[in-house]
């Protein structure tokens, strides 16, 4: 149905364009010169008034159609069916009705549900037909009203350009809306979580056992939401990632900027950057397929027992992914050091190594630090590698041979499968997400500021 509505709106919009253009030419007696704007602008003006309002109407309609019908459906059910239901049961009931209405009948649903299925089907039909009628009448109204406004002196171009500017501003605001959406959704769900679990327990607790349900009537121990082991695991894995990525990335950058032949650099730099373009799920599989068994065998051969999903392996594989971040940002920082510093150093008789270690690196240090901070933020937010290669159980350990878990792993494991929005387990993922978002945002802001400030100093 939606497709037909869209098609109808599109067709009407196109005809609006043609009608507007024809009308303007006719009013001008076929002489486009006597019009204020080119005829196409009159067409576009009418088309905009035909298409845009009804598109907005349809989007809003679709947004509310589902919830409204659900609410009506629920209200239409006999009271004894809907009394004392939790939100999860309600959504289960509604999805059962929808299944029944599509003809997927499992078992013997009772008559009320079957009736509701029929009602649902009817209402949906009514809703989509009325949407179609509303959209088309809005289109036609726009067509008639705005066609009448066309006159040779009508400033159609300004109007159309105004509409376009409005569209562009709306698109720019979409970027802001995304951020607002992220912040609001994380905050709202996290606040709901903090109404169940105290923020102090969350931020400073030492036990993380979110899988155990928390119910008022349960007899066994309740779940714990102390995130310190999770934070510690995240930092540990990020640390190992940096231990792998910083030396390799930095030395690569040094060689490529100072020693390498331009042709060598032109080939090698993109090849190294391929590492950043490989999807992280591939790294995760690489970790479990190759790196983890190899590392375990190696540790066994020197007589040390290592877990198959040890923190070190997860961190090291993540480090491989991060090498290009460090190398290209350090590359930029080293290249940005003014020629004069380099020449001065060479003039004093310093070797290349002395110039690099004593002049270029200190001068480029802020830029490199900025790059490292960006890489740390990347490592903290990286998900798939750790989901596949790190542990799920939160243990309070710094041993690189034991599995640890990270914030992102917990978010994914808590939310995978069916999610109910009123259990602390689900909400805990949003609280972790809030922490993750805040930390990475701070790291990024600091890093970008460092990089920018440093760039300005030499420009």
């Amino acid at each position: 149905m939606f497709i037909y509505v869209l098609a109808a709106i599109l067709a009407l919009t196109l005809s609006g364009y043609v009608i507007g253009q024809r009308r303007s030419l006719k009013l001008a007696g076929g002489e486009a010169r006597s019009l204020h704007s080119r005829p196409g602008y009159y067409g576009a003006y009418v088309a905009a008034w035909v298409g845009i309002p009804s598109l907005i109407l349809v989007l809003i309609w679709l947004l509310f159609q589902g919830p409204v019908i659900d609410a009506l459906l629920l209200a239409s059910l006999p009271d004894e069916k809907t009394a004392n239901l939790s939100s999860a049961q309600v959504s289960l009931l509604i999805s059962e009705i929808k299944q029944v209405s599509r003809g997927n009948i499992f078992g013997q649903p009772d008559q009320a549900i079957l009736d509701a299925g029929v009602r649902y089907q009817n209402w949906r039909l009514i809703a989509s037909w009325s949407m179609l009628t509303a959209a088309i009448s809005l289109c036609l109204a726009g067509l008639v009203i705005n066609r009448a406004r066309i006159a040779p002196a009508f400033r159609a171009r300004q109007r159309v350009e105004g509409v376009m500017t409005g569209f562009m501003i709306a698109c720019s605001i979409a970027a802001i809306l995304t951020t607002v959406g992220i912040v609001l959704s994380l905050l709202i769900e996290a606040l709901r979580f903090f109404s169940l679990v105290s923020p102090l327990d969350f931020l400073f607790g030492l036990r993380w056992e979110p899988q155990i349900a928390m119910r008022a009537d349960q007899s066994l121990g309740s779940g714990a939401f102390g995130a310190i082991p999770v934070f510690l695991g995240t930092l540990e894995i990020a640390l190992f990632a940096m231990l792998v990525a910083i030396p390799i990335g930095l030395f690569t950058a040094i060689y490529l900027t100072e020693y390498a032949h331009p042709k060598f650099r032109a080939v090698i730099k993109p090849v190294v950057e391929i590492l950043a373009g490989i999807p992280t799920v591939v790294y995760g599989f690489f970790a479990i397929l190759i790196v983890a068994p190899a590392f375990k065998n190696f540790m066994n051969s020197i007589g040390i027992d290592a877990a198959p999903n040890s923190a070190f392996v997860a961190g090291a594989v993540m480090g491989i992914m991060i090498i290009p971040f460090i190398s290209s940002l350090s590359d930029d920082a080293i290249t940005a050091v003014p020629r004069s510093l380099r020449d001065g150093s060479y003039a004093l008789g310093a070797t290349q190594a002395e110039t690099i270690m004593q002049i270029l690196l200190p001068a480029a240090l802020p830029g490199i630090m900025g790059g490292v901070l960006l890489a740390v933020s990347r490592a903290i937010g990286e998900t798939m590698i750790v989901v596949m290669a790190a542990g799920i159980i939160a243990t309070l350990t710094l041993n690189p041979l034991e599995p640890v878990t990270t914030v992102t792993v917990q978010i994914v494991t808590l939310l995978i499968g069916d999610t109910e929005f009123d259990s602390p387990k689900t909400l805990a993922a949003f609280a972790l997400g809030l922490v993750l978002f805040t930390v990475t945002l701070c790291l990024n802001v600091i890093a970008l500021r460092i990089v920018q400030k440093y760039r300005e100093r030499y420009d």
Partner: protein, 554 residues
Amino acid sequence: MTDATLDTNVGSRLGVDWASEANARRLKKRYAANRRLQFYGLTAIALAIGLLGTLVSSLVVEGYKAFYQSKATLEIRLDPADIDPKNLADANYRRIFNTAIERYVPEAKTPAEKRQLSDIFSSEARYALRDYVLAHPEQIGQTIKLKVSLSDPFDQLEKGVIPRYVDALSSSETSRFEALAGRGLIEGRGADAAMKVSLSIDPQKVSSADIGAGRFRDIIADGLLATLGNPNAVGAAWPMLRDDVADVLKAYVIAHPDSIGQRLENFKLPLSPNYAALASGETPKVFNQRFASEKQFEWLDRLKAQGALSYPFASELLLNPTSRFPELAGLAGAIVGSFYALVVCFLISFPLGIAAAVYLEEFARRNRWTDLIEVNINNLAAVPSVVFGLLGLAVFLNSFGLPRSAPLVGGMVLALITLPTIIITTRAALKAVPPSVREAALGIGASKHQVVMHHVLPLAMPGIMTGVIIGLAHALGETAPLLLIGMNAFIPSIENIGLLEPATALPTQIYAWADSPERGFVARTSAAILVLLAFLVVMNGIAIFLRQRFERKW
């Protein structure tokens, strides 16, 4: 004045002897440091590229095996008695197929054997047969040739992933045996290999009146305990001895009745076949029983000897939807799901991204608001993708009530992820268009909008498209946000994939397969990754082509 005199002059003025040995050493050291740094740099590059090479080559080594499939070409008689021509689809194809394979292996008689026999072939075989009959109803009554896949364990056996023979003894068993051999307790080779143990023929355990009723096993156990020292070692030593070792001793005692009450020094207890082979310096092997029985090996070998096995390209990998059986699992559903999601992502992020970039770059006055938008976009580009997944879950699924697992939602989330990248690259492309173009257009009376629409945007288009394609390639590899909105559904059929139906995507399919325990999924996962990487290479290739072909240098 020559260079040499200049050098000595400067040197002597500063009181430095440049030619001294100490100086030469220092210089050598400094040059060594320089070479060292260069070496570190080269090592780092070699490591980075080596890791990339390891990654790709290990995927190729694992993954190529999933691109071909072991199949058997079987002759199947379509008996008209079994198939009702009016109701082709409902015939018992399973039975027809089983009758056909039992003709190849007549000795499979018991139900268990018959089940083992049909286990060699993929469970899809009967559907393949049904589809064949539905397509060729005229061949009922004839004997047809049908190619059916082998089931996963046998496919893996044929590909050599699962070894047909495995070491009969574990490494700890071997090392325990070698410890005994090191103590000189093992003697002889082959069938003569034996363990030398001193036994005391205790009259309480065997009476000369009735030697046959003697408790010879206990005698051996006592002897082992005396020789080896602890009960654990005795427990480990028993499997090394031949099963009939007590009978050997009995025969000896019957032959030598006077030995009762005596101590037999270094009595030779024969070793079991596996350990005898080990004593002869061989590595004993046994059939790999974990996945298949010896009979099944034999039957498979017979089919192979008849030339019935072939290894064609596994079109299933690309054309089938996913399945619980590795030999049937394919990527079609995931590719379609990813395609829908990417189309939605493109339809949203392309117009939105370009409009926002054009506004910010060409129209917006610099003020607090536009600064805010800019900072905001730069930061959005660095927000972890999993956070976008949380946004999608809370807003699109929970607030808007859009269906879970749908490509529409996946595409919307991916669009939000790629939007900042597209805005940033579009702005860079717009910036690259020289101001002279704008000024010339403005000079002949175009409006600001006309300048942008008619001149700047078309000129920047190749750069914009490059950025968009790279952004889409990035979106294709995104996994975590799709997991959060449930786009990892198990979709065993590709018929009703739609924008609002549950679907899966390539990277989430890879994640699901990587989690599956069956051996065949390792190769399948690697192959799926190769397919994903191929898509990425193609997309990036198009982007590079566009950049080199159409981008203008001003």
